[in-house]
Structures are given as structure tokens and as C-alpha cells.
């Protein structure tokens, strides 16, 4: 009852592992796949190996997590094995990539396709890496060019992941309308200071806020974009249980991604949320996810 189609891709359930959480190593992804995730987005991969920022890179807040990993990744040339291992899980593997221009994105996308990824997700939205992510993702012409150029380069679906750090996410969504699906949202630019240490906690000072705190912002982004853009939406941000997932779906998402909540509920979260969703759907007379997509839209 939970299976969904996003374009030509089939998912046994709409609960996809979000990029950056337990998805750098192939075997970890394989484990998550076996734990019940409907699909997996890899850590964002760039052209060269990157060590990321020094510790602290993660800080636990009362209502979520703050992170500035700094896009650590082994580099695309070292990533073939990880994808191959992850693929053994039998669920779609979506290769997340980041770059600073259309050429870089296209190159990375082609590699992901060659490695066997089922789709690519363009990270146009990391809030704390200079020259990447949201610095790219709020330049309307640039994101349009990136999407178009990647679309020309590969045959597998292209998902565009957008930043909520903007005054108008609909505008960005329209600029990337050529993508096959939109992923909303990445983290909010944020920081924390330890007053006893008298300094920012994250080594990079700025980081991204994820988890419970940002769910109302993610829901709003999905709701806003759904009414203006005719592409499937993947909702992300603060999903911790079946009700949260259904809330995103009613706002307009066809599927969701889950990150931070793995820290609170563990790797078993995918199976658990699937069960929670099924329970609610049965009680409320729904037999398919698609029956609920966007039904909370008030016109």
C-alpha cells in the first residue's frame, strides 16, 4: 500500500534516506536498504576528495541538529564501488552530487549514471560550503543552466534539491522546472554559541539546522511549490514519524526523505514509520499514497 512512482522510478515505500546521513560507504547504504528504506540518496559527491571541516562538525540542539560537515567525500573517481555495493540492496540509489558550475555537475552526473545510480540529486542547497550549495542554488540563471546541462548529459532522472534560505523558493523551483523531481528542503543556515566557551561551537562557525525545528518550514516549502510547479516533490526536513511523513504528502510531496531522525529513532526508523503510515491509512480509508498527495491544499 505504500509503493510510489516518482517519474519512471519505482519505490516500495516513500521513505528515502536523505543525503549526508549514513550514506557515504556502500555497506552502510546496503544496511539501510535492508532496514526498510524505500530508496537511498548518497552523500553529496564532488570531483575531488574532500576532508570536510574539522571537528566539531555536528552539534545536538534541543530541537534538531546543527551540522557543518563541509561536504567531505571520497571524490567521484573513488565512488564506483560504493554505488555498486549499495545497489545490492535492491532499492533505487540516487547519487547526490555537488559542484560549482554546469560542467562539474554534468561530469559528476554522467559518472553516477555510469556507476549504475538510478537517478541523480543535484545539491543546490548546502548552506555552509563556500562556492557550492546555496551560493549556487539561489542564482536563478545558474541553477537553470545546471539542470538543463545535466538533463542533456544523462538519461536517468534528475532531482533538484533546493534551499529554504531564500525569500522565494517558488521562484527557484520554477527555474529548475526541467528537473524530473524537486527535493525540498535542505537545512537552514544557522549557528550556535557556547557561552561558557565564548565561541561558536562548529569549527566552521555556520552550519545547517535540521530535524524537528525545521519541519514547519519544509511543509510550507512543499505546499507553496506544489501549487505552482507541476513536478513530483520529495519532502525533507524534520520527519520523525508516520504523521510527519503524511503531513508532507498531504502538503504535496510524492515521497519523503529522512535524515536527522535516524539519530533519535535509530536505523529501524524506516520500517517503523512505514508501519505507522499503514496504520493511519487503514484507519482513515486510504489504500494508496497517491490518494493523499496534496489533499491539504486549500484553493
Amino acid at each position: 500500500m505504500l509503493n510510489v512512482e516518482i517519474g519512471k522510478l519505482h519505490f516500495k515505500n516513500p521513505l528515502i534516506l536523505a543525503s549526508g546521513i549514513l550514506d557515504e560507504a556502500g555497506e552502510t547504504m546496503l544496511r539501510i536498504a535492508k532496514s526498510g528504506a524505500g530508496g537511498i540518496v548518497t552523500k553529496s559527491i564532488g570531483k575531488e576528495p574532500r576532508e570536510g571541516y574539522e571537528n566539531p562538525v555536528v552539534y545536538e540542539l534541543p530541537c534538531g541538529l546543527l551540522n557543518a560537515m563541509g561536504l567531505p567525500n571520497p571524490g567521484i573517481e573513488n565512488y564506483e564501488d560504493e554505488i555498486k555495493i549499495a545497489k545490492k540492496g535492491g532499492v533505487p540509489i540516487i547519487g547526490s552530487i555537488f559542484g560549482s558550475n554546469p560542467e562539474e555537475f554534468s561530469y559528476l552526473a554522467k559518472k553516477m549514471e555510469d556507476y549504475g545510480a538510478d537517478a541523480v540529486e543535484l545539491n543546490l542547497s548546502c548552506p555552509h560550503a563556500k562556492g557550492y550549495g546555496m551560493e549556487v542554488g539561489t542564482d536563478l540563471e545558474l541553477v537553470e543552466e545546471i539542470v538543463d546541462s545535466v538533463k542533456r548529459e544523462i538519461k536517468i532522472p534528475v532531482w533538484a534539491k533546493l534551499t529554504p534560505n531564500t525569500s522565494n523558493i517558488v521562484e527557484i523551483a520554477k527555474a529548475v522546472e526541467n528537473a524530473d523531481a524537486l527535493v525540498l528542503i535542505n537545512t537552514l543556515k544557522a549557528m550556535a554559541i557556547d557561552i561558557d566557551a565564548k565561541r561558536p561551537v562548529l569549527k566552521n562557525v555556520f552550519g545547517g539546522l535540521s530535524g524537528k525545528a525545521i519541519k514547519p518550514i519544509g511543509i510550507r516549502a512543499v505546499y507553496e511549490v506544489y501549487r505552482e510547479v507541476g513536478k513530483p516533490i520529495i519532502g525533507v526536513g524534520g520527519i520523525e514519524n508516520g504523521r510527519d511523513a503524511i503531513e508532507y504528502i498531504m502538503a504535496g510531496a510524492s515521497a519523503v526523505e529522512i535524515g536527522t531522525a535516524i539519530y533519535t529513532r535509530g536505523i529501524g526508523i524506516f520500517k517503523e514509520i512505514a508501519k505507522e503510515m499503514e496504520g493511519w491509512m487503514r484507519k482513515n480509508g486510504y489504500s494508496k499514497i497517491s490518494q493523499m498527495v496534496g489533499i491539504a491544499q486549500v484553493r
Binding site: 560507504a25 552502510t28 571537528n55 571524490g75 564501488d81
Partner: protein, 251 residues
């Protein structure tokens, strides 16, 4: 969990490269669990709890930037910590063999206080033997690479001898990964239960970043202590690690 600040109440020089930092804190760690220590402006790194109870402690080997900065701290200085994290040792019945290599003894300290058994303390050289003092009333066996004290050679060789002489119910170990790999293989071969506390590069410490993973297991949350059932599946143990970028590289 946000940081809490603890004051260093006492510092003990254990060896030329290892110091123990005592502090008070309300948390209730189990042997084998660890904390993330933040030195503001310097670094954050994982550290096992080496003394449990009212007076807690970290026992720290000077390795690089973070631990060197820590060694410069004085009594009265502060540490920012979060934890305890991870899954510690599961105490098994019966007589144990406990094998600590180098600073690995730090992790084993609280466990040793709670189990009966023979203890191998191993180090490169005599001066680097950790906790000789602390466990002077116990059945301690010593191994040094250079033979400056006790058995001359690797801990693994001494352990092998001892396993041949006596039936141990369980082996606990912490130390260099290559040492642990051998110990684990020997234990499994002989059908002896074994628990090993692993060390891998840690960034988040809370199970989300994948930097500490080994063959699908997260050292920070699923470990750091693993038992034979899991250890046999870790093909990379003692052979490959992941560097800071996540690249799989030979150890």
C-alpha cells in the same frame, strides 16, 4: 546532547605520552563507553571513560593536535564534554583474558575492575605500560615490543601462549587494530567469546555521519565494543580504514 563543562580536578602522568585527567560529572557511563571532548578553538575528539564512579577520568595518549593541547591543560582547567555514547562491554560470566595494547588499556580500565581474569598489558616499551600501578594486585602479564619488561614481543604472541595454557570463557581487547584482528581470529578459531573495542575516525559521535563505519557497522553507536558475531563480518578490520574524506584506504 549539548556540552557540559567539567573541571579537571587532578592530572596524573601515567607514562611519558599518557596522562589521566580526573573530573566530576553526573553521567553514568558503562565500561567501554566514550565521550566527545571539545577543546574550544582546538578540536573535538572521542575518548573512552577510564575511571567510572564518583571520580571519573579520561586517560589520554598524546597523538596529534587535540591530544597535545589536552596534555597542556592544568588542574582547574575545563573540558567541554558530551556523552556517554555508544555501547560498552557486555560483562560475561567466567574467567576472562583481557588484552590491552598501548592506550587501549584506558578503555579496559573500568571493565577490569568489574571482571575476574588474567590481564595482558602491552606496549612498545616499558615506560609506556599503562595502569601497572592501578592493577598491581591483579594477575597482570606484561609484553613489550622491545623486551624492556616482561614478555619480549607482541601481545598477540603472549596471548596465544596463555590461551594454550588455560581455557578462558571470554576475551576482551582494546588496542591497535592489527593486534585486535589477530586476537579475534585466534579467539574465533578456538571458539572463545571475544569482545573488542574499536577505534575509527569519528566526526559526529552519534551515528549519522558514516565516518566511523566499518562494513556497515557504526563504531560510535553500534559499538565501540563489538562481539564475535559482528566482528567476523568486518572484513576491513585490521586491513582497511576510511580517511577523513571517506576514502577506503589500507591501514
Amino acid at each position: 546532547m549539548m556540552y557540559r563543562v567539567v573541571k579537571i580536578e587532578k592530572i596524573k602522568e601515567e607514562t611519558p605520552t599518557i596522562k589521566t585527567f580526573f573530573f566530576k560529572d553526573d553521567s553514568k557511563p558503562k565500561p567501554g563507553q566514550f565521550y566527545m571532548i571539545w577543546l574550544p578553538g582546538v578540536d573535538e575528539f572521542p575518548m573512552s571513560i577510564s575511571h567510572i564512579g564518583n571520580k571519573k577520568a579520561f586517560t589520554v595518549k598524546r597523538i596529534g593536535k587535540g591530544t597535545t593541547a589536552m596534555h597542556k591543560l592544568k588542574e582547574g582547567d575545563k573540558l567541554w564534554i558530551r556523552g556517554p555514547y555508544g555501547r560498552g562491554f557486555k560483562i560475561e560470566n567466567g574467567y576472562a583474558l583481557i588484552i590491552g595494547g598501548g592506550s587501549g588499556m584506558a578503555t579496559l580500565g573500568p571493565l577490569i575492575e568489574r571482571v575476574e581474569g588474567d590481564i595482558i598489558i602491552a606496549a612498545r616499551t616499558k615506560d609506556e605500560l599503562l595502569f601497572l600501578d592501578r592493577f598491581k594486585d591483579r594477575n597482570v602479564y606484561i609484553a613489550t615490543d622491545d623486551g624492556s619488561a616482561g614478555f619480549k614481543g607482541f601481545a598477540t604472541d603472549l596471548a596465544k601462549d596463555m590461551m594454550e595454557k588455560r581455557d578462558y570463557s571470554i576475551i576482551y581487547t582494546c588496542g591497535p587494530e592489527i593486534m585486535m584482528r589477530k586476537i579475534i581470529d585466534m579467539a574465533i578459531e578456538r571458539g572463545i567469546k571475544v569482545q573488542a573495542s574499536l577505534e575509527r575516525l569519528m566526526k559526529c559521535g552519534i551515528g549519522i555521519c558514516d565516518s566511523c563505519s566499518i562494513n556497515g557497522y557504526r563504531v560510535c553507536v553500534d559499538g565501540p565494543v563489538f562481539s564475535e558475531k559482528e566482528l567476523v563480518k568486518m572484513e576491513d578490520l585490521g586491513k582497511y580504514k576510511r580517511d577523513s574524506s571517506g576514502r577506503r584506504v589500507p591501514i
